[in-house]
Symmetry: none
Subunit: 121 residues, 4 copies
DNA sequence: GTGGTCTAGACCACC
DNA sequence: GTGGTCTAGACCACG
């Protein structure tokens, strides 16, 4: 079992996130084959139902495609992958900033906080 | 009803978050009285039990104190409030950065992304 | 306010306990006058209703007596006070031992634990 | 209904206490499955919500762990269980001793009282 | 009036 | 099946 039980985010979302990140990092490229449902289920120490859900969801997001009898693959549309990278980045940043503002932090506090945290690593 | 139904975060956590943000923004100061359980329940369009849970949790976090028969109050320990502000800020920033890194973004991409997004507002 | 708000035991019981302990320690002797309801209420930072309850309860326990127009006094029956001391001690010890046994500690573990804790003070 | 109504301690605390004692007595071992919420609710003659609260609290104390969709289990960390035993013992003893001292009993009176009471059983 | 606990019963996501 | 959350409405002790 390679996933984190301690968080309360649904396991299938954790797995989707992990796969998407591998994709935008380039570890998984357009058209690459994803593990079979059963394989990934074993790898992750998870019920096959859960993996099934992961793949359905990724298909809905047009990030993966299922070819009947062959398996599930990263979409072949490279443009969709670039778009995905942008989407995830923008989404992440805006939600971060809006949260910080809601907590009353100023723009400069935010930039400084991020810079310092990145330095100290 | 003033809370978000479209998110999957439990209502009581949403309310805690909202109150904590009001506190660290300084809208609620040390020692201030919080609304009574029943009052807040009406304000939020929520069951009193849910608010009860909010206040219990905030007391556990030492952000609120309850005085029997009198009501629930923001803690009188100013230091705890400063600490809370730091905690929430650090927590927010680190989780943001670790997410971004996991997606393969570099430190400079992150800082730039944040700076640009803040400018365009 | 000289009492402890942090515990969840009712305030009136805390006050009764405190008074009884002063009595069996001999700080308050048989026949001594107790403070008036209003006085004690101010001393303790507590509502007079609460003190009223304290005195009623102590009267029920035959530890205090109220003389109309004069005030409330520690009972004059010295024997009752000795008895009280014994009662409280026995009660305390038996409930302690039965708790420890219920937790699976042996007689010798209990005696040793108590001895050691008393030494290290 | 298997719990004490005649005490003023909340039912959920009584149940936690009972479970913790079973654990430190070794009747429930590390990793053992606890009854499901609904099961225990029936056993105890109590509402499922009350048991829910018991399990949440025990998880917060790191005495229990819940596995989504599977159930609630005694923590697998044996060290935590040893620690729990120590904690409960120390807690019990110190509160007993401080109570006795506050009542004016001397160290030797305390030790003797405990020894004698244990002999007469 | 306040918070604290409890029951009854519901719906949800997850495995 | 499991735990997690929520509503509705009740009763209690306390100040």
């Amino acid at each position: 079992m390679g996933h984190d039980f301690h968080t309360n985010q649904p396991i299938y979302l954790q797995i989707i996130q992990r796969l998407c990140r591998q994709i935008i990092r380039g570890e998984l490229g357009a058209g690459d084959k994803l593990p079979s449902v059963r394989e990934l289920a074993v790898q992750m120490g998870v019920n096959p139902n859960t993996v099934q859900r992961v793949y359905s969801e990724m298909e809905r997001l047009q990030v993966a495609e299922t070819k009947r009898g062959l398996g599930t693959f990263v979409t072949e549309k490279e443009s969709r992958l670039k778009q995905l990278r942008e989407e995830l980045m923008t989404e992440q940043i805006s939600s971060f900033i809006s949260d910080m503002k809601e907590m009353g932090f100023t723009a400069s506090e935010i930039v400084e906080g991020v810079r310092k945290t990145l330095e100290h690593e």
